[in-house]
Amino acid sequence: MLRASIRKAGTEYDYSAITGKVRGDGGIPHAQLLADFGEAITVRDKAKTAEMRDALVETLGEAGMVDAAGVAAAFHGNVRVADATGAPPPLRGDIEKAKAFQEEVGIDEFYGARNS
């Protein structure tokens, strides 16, 4: 979805930022701040979450911060639905290209990828 949304927007993004291999916004405004907010919520670092929340309200506005929190919360559920049921990853189109992308981003290093 991220790749498709970026293609649609016609912008640039270093996908290895997803796994934290690099930092930066690329062509997506405030991408690093949004990613840091999502990570702070996931690891339940309340101080960092509060810090990022304030920063997001300042940069994206209150509604933007709330919607970012909503997406982060939703994916706490979505990943568990997928992981608890063994739903096959949607590797569409060229499987070799998809696997190369997983390697580039670092997804191939995830426990589930190494053990599947």
Partner: protein
Amino acid sequence: MGETINYHAVPYTVRDDLVSAQNKAWKQISESGAWLDGRKRLDVAREVRKAWDCGLCGRRKEALSPNAVDGDHDSATDLNAAEIEIIHRISTDPGRLSETWLKRETKAGAVGEEAYIEMISVICMVMVIDRFAEALGQAEFPLPEPVAGEPSGYRAPGAKMHGAWISLVEPEDAAPEDGVLYVSEESAAGVVKALTLAPDAKRAYWDLGDAHYIPHDKVFDFDLDARAISRSQIEVVAARVSAVHQCVY
């Protein structure tokens, strides 16, 4: 019904549709499902919360493999050992679940496939609401009281094994008595199919999830402008949260 969930205590305005979806989900958790009654569904919710300070779960998270650490979970209910293991592992270490683990936990028959699916739905609803509240600095909402009622025992008749670890309903196998499982071709992604064995559990979870993310039948509509952040910004958050969870999907 009075609203159990509101965000009056935090200095942020939360969309009405999102608050409504959370209140609807909170009520659904307290009511009988197809395989678990309201009391048991609330026990699942209590264990989701307990898992975060469970000593065994903490030691397993630190271990190279969760299978290397034995022991008993710290529990908050009288659910059986398999149920507690399932709830705690899905709550705290979902990226290292495996089909072998699932088969081991369900082999003795203490948790059936249908109850397992419904438990996932409840776990995920609690997780979404609790993490959203925490993200805004809001304390956990008290769980509702259980609503009396008997589980319906409904299993979608078209559910079969299709390459996942559990049975699910492909669009062509959906029966009229299942109700609406898929609103469009786009809404039949693997992760959306995953809970269709228990149709009400599937709808309850995705109604809540959609209010927080975007409606799952609109995921391929990249022109959709339904949130205060752009689609690329939405997907950055989603991708980072998934990556921290080590989610391959």
